[in-house]
C-alpha cells in the first residue's frame, strides 16, 4: 500500500465526527439536563458553562451540580469528581499504545477531550488493520464533535432552565443506557467478552449501593479479570484479535 491510499487527515477528521453523531444524539439530553439542573441549583451561568468548557465530564458535572446545590464543600466535590472520572484512566491506558508516537501537541488536547463516547468510537478506528498515519485526526474529529455539542446542549439547558425542571422525569436520561447498549452488544462476539460483561453486570448490581460510584470501578475490574481468566482457560483459540502489538510498529 502506498502513502496515497490512506485517508487524508481531512477525511479522517470528517469520518471521526460523522461516526460520533449517533453518540451525540445520546449526549444531547444530558447536556440539556445538566444546564437546567445547574442553573436551578443556584450555580451562576458563567460557572455552569465554565464547567462544560473546562471540565467536560458529563456525569461528574451532574453530580457536582447536585452537590453544590446541597452546599457540599468544594474540596469534597473535587474528590468526588476524581473518583467518578477514574474510569477515564482505563480508557487513556488502553488508547495509549496506539498514541505513543504522537507529540504533546496532540496528547494534551486529545487527553482533555477524552469521554466515554469518543473512547468507544476511536478505539475501533485505532484497532483497524490499516496503518494509516492519520488516525489521530479521526480522534480529533470525534473529540471536537462531542465537545461542540456539549457546549451547545449546556447552553440550551441553561436557557430553557426552569421550564425543563422535570426533564429527567420524562426519561431522557435513558438515552445513555441505549447508547451504551448499542456500543457494547456488538462487541460481545467472543466467550471471554461475554463473560467479562456478565461478571461486570452482576458485580455492578451487587455494589451499586456504594458511594461515589465506587461500585463502577470494582465491577469494571472484576469484568476485566473474568475476561482474562476465561481467555486463559480457553487458550488462544477464542480470544479477541490481538491488535495492540502490530500497531506499535
Amino acid at each position: 500500500m502506498t502513502q496515497t491510499d490512506y485517508p487524508t487527515p481531512r477525511q479522517e477528521f470528517i469520518n471521526g465526527a460523522r461516526d460520533t453523531i449517533p453518540l451525540i444524539l445520546g449526549a444531547i439530553p444530558f447536556g440539556i439536563i445538566y444546564g437546567a439542573i445547574a442553573i436551578n441549583g443556584g450555580i451562576s451561568p458563567l460557572a455552569t458553562i465554565g464547567m462544560s468548557l473546562f471540565v467536560f465530564a458529563g456525569s461528574a458535572q451532574f453530580i457536582a451540580a447536585g452537590l453544590i446545590a446541597q452546599g457540599v464543600a468544594p474540596l469534597l466535590i473535587v474528590l468526588t469528581t476524581f473518583i467518578v472520572n477514574l474510569r477515564h484512566m482505563l480508557y487513556a491506558a488502553s488508547l495509549a499504545p496506539y498514541m505513543r508516537d504522537l507529540s504533546q501537541r496532540w496528547l494534551a488536547p486529545l487527553g482533555f477531550w477524552l469521554t466515554d463516547e469518543t473512547f468507544a468510537v476511536v478505539v475501533r478506528r485505532y484497532a483497524d488493520k490499516d496503518d494509516s498515519p492519520h488516525k489521530q485526526w479521526y480522534h480529533l474529529g470525534s473529540s471536537l464533535a462531542m465537545y461542540t455539542n456539549w457546549q451547545i446542549s449546556t447552553i440550551v439547558g441553561m436557557v430553557a432552565g426552569s421550564q425543563l425542571e422535570g426533564l429527567a422525569d420524562i426519561g431522557l436520561d435513558f438515552a445513555l443506557v441505549v447508547t451504551f447498549i448499542g456500543i457494547v452488544v456488538p462487541m460481545l462476539v467472543t466467550r471471554p467478552m461475554l463473560v467479562c460483561a456478565l461478571v461486570s453486570a452482576i458485580t455492578a448490581l451487587l455494589t451499586n449501593h456504594l458511594e461515589n460510584k465506587a461500585g463502577l470501578m470494582i465491577a469494571a475490574f472484576a469484568g476485566i479479570l473474568a475476561g482474562i481468566v476465561m481467555e486463559t482457560l480457553l487458550g488462544a483459540k477464542d480470544q479477541p484479535e490481538a491488535k495492540t502489538v502490530e500497531v506499535a510498529q
Binding site: 444524539l25 473546562f54 468544594p74 484512566m89 480508557y91 495509549a96 498514541m99 482533555f112 469494571a220 469484568g223
Partner: protein, 109 residues
Amino acid sequence: MNEALLILGMFAVTFSVRYVPLVVVGRAQLPPRVARALRYVPVAVLTAILVPAALMPTGELDISLSNAALIGSVAAALIAWKTRSLLLTIVLGMVIFLVWRGLVAPALI
C-alpha cells in the same frame, strides 16, 4: 470566585486521569498481559454503568414488566445484536422505552 476555584480543581483532577496514562503508558512498553487486559475495558466499564441503570432505575432491583428501562434495554440489546447499528439501537430503544413507560406500564398497574 469560589466557583472558579472549584472548576479549576475539577479541571485538574479530570485532566490528570485522562492525560497522565496517555503519556506514561505510551512511553512504557506494555507487558502483553496488560495489553490484553486493556481490551476488556470498554465492555467492562460501559456494562457496569448501564446494567444498574436498566435494572435498578429507582435504586432497587426491579425485574418486572413495569420497569420500562428493563424492557427498553432488552429491546435495544436485541436490536443492537440484529442490526449492529448504533443509530437504530438508540432511536428504536428510546421509542420503545418511552412508549412502554407512557402507555404499557401504567396499564399494568
